[in-house]
Amino acid sequence: MSDQLPQPGVEAEASVDISRAVAILAPRGRDAAVAAQLLAKDNIAALPVGDLDQLAAMVGQHVGAVLVTEEALASSDIGALRHAIEAQPKWSDVPFIVLANGALRTRSDRAGQQMDALRNAVLLSRPLHVEELVRSVRSALTARGRQHEARKQLEELELRERQLYESEAKFHAITDSVDHMIWSTLPDGYHDYYNSRWYEFTGVPEGSTDGSAWNGMFHAGDQKKAWALWQHCLTTGETYEVEYRLRHRSGDYRWVLGRARPVRDESGTIVRWYGSCTDIHEIKMAEQQRQLMLGEMNHRVKNTLAMVNVMVSQTLRQADNLRDAQESIQSRIGMMAQAHDRLINAAWSETHISEVVEAALVPHRSGEGRFAITGADLPIGSKQALALTMALHELSTNASKYGALSVQGGTVSIAWAVDGETELFNFTWTESGGPTVTEPTRRGFGSRMIKQALPGYFTGQAELSYDPDGLKFKLQAPLAGLIH
């Protein structure tokens, strides 16, 4: 702590540590020099000054001690010195050693007051005793040294306190800024801290879930499990991790993931638990939805495969040769795949008859206007849509091979409507302009499917007439049979 700044009137050597030096104000004759010499013999540094103002400056720089004669004190206004003494920091109490004015017999009041103003002062009589002077100065400097030590400790404490404050502030800033709920407990599990997110989520008053009251915030079905696991982890120190439903301020329960880990001291003893709760409700709901959908999907796929199985089995029954069989099977499966596309677009719920009819006829459209289609835009259920698609596929394939679509000029008329009185749905397919129709000797899959299976999907009736002018198909069903 050496003072590098040059002071007016003070010839301080650069290497003098002012906090361990003695300022000397003894302007009369050789007093200052003599005193300095005496102190130098004892390795004490001396800093002679010329007046009270310079002395005040020394005090401001925390000089180790001051040696001043009584007459020098009285010589001029003590104001600056008094101010410097009062302006000292709390730890500082600069010691004064006053050399009494040997010439006077009594001390004036003013002189006494001036000495009092110095606060920490001793009086040495003159003529000076060397030992008295040196010991006084030593004692003063030692005391001063201890003041510096105390100051260091105080500053250290203040630093620690500031660091602690900043650390706490940082902790709170972090825990209140993250999206998760954060909590902390004593080693016995007593919850004594929750971040602001916890209170935002739960809506409970601050402090109301301290201790073990948190368990009551859990869904009844999860309380026991979570409590048991928490107790287990408290004992073993294992990481705590559990999913449970926590009561949200809205009154609903939401799935959260609770986790906690212990903090240990140097000896390995747990001193605190820090934990968090993460809202996983959306994720969990999505997962449950996904499982449901997967189950649904599996179910539907199995159903579809069962249908394909029927297609293949039935085709093989009736095919004349493997090549015909292959063609039929592929055509039918292709039709089913296409019907599925439409069903997916309609989210497997329902579609419209017009769409079903249009789609089924796509492979057979030639741009020559062979189809006449009339009917209202009625909704139709997914199973019914598939069945109708299959029927239309069979009818149009048959018409292309043997019926109205197998010759130029042949036409097909498709019409459907709901009878206002009977509330019955009627669907008809009428061919004309084709070769003369005769009843086939063998019932193919198409006719069997139409006559036996199709009506079942609509809880209605189906008819296939081999009218010589053209094949006629008719489906009749209650309106309710279109969607169920």
């Binding site: 159903n303 495969l305 069962a306 394909v308 029927v310 089995s313 069945a387 299976a453």
Partner: protein
Amino acid sequence: MTNVLRKLPAVLIVEDEPLIRMDAVDMIEDAGFRTYEAASADDAIRLINGHDDIGILFTDIDMPGSMDGLALAAYVRNGWPPVAIMIASGVVEIEASAMPEGAAFIPKPYATSQITKTMQEIAARLD
């Protein structure tokens, strides 16, 4: 030959999906059995009560109505005359406890040979 045919029990096929039911009927008739068909448990019970030649119940599990295939099978098991049970399903994991005792499990889609073989075994036992 006709003696053998008459000895074979008739099969009641219960399946709500018309096409699959139609194919099952074909498959089982091809194996030489006479068939009855129903689209729901209610229809099936009516048929069983009306025809005493039904010796085998071949039923799907998922069906509309008050009873599913498992409930229907349990009901039939407790009735008279004794009827052999075959349960079909697309769902692979059916708990053993849910199946009636002695019932055969047939996975969907159907494998013709497996079904015919099982039925012939049952027919032989019923003799």
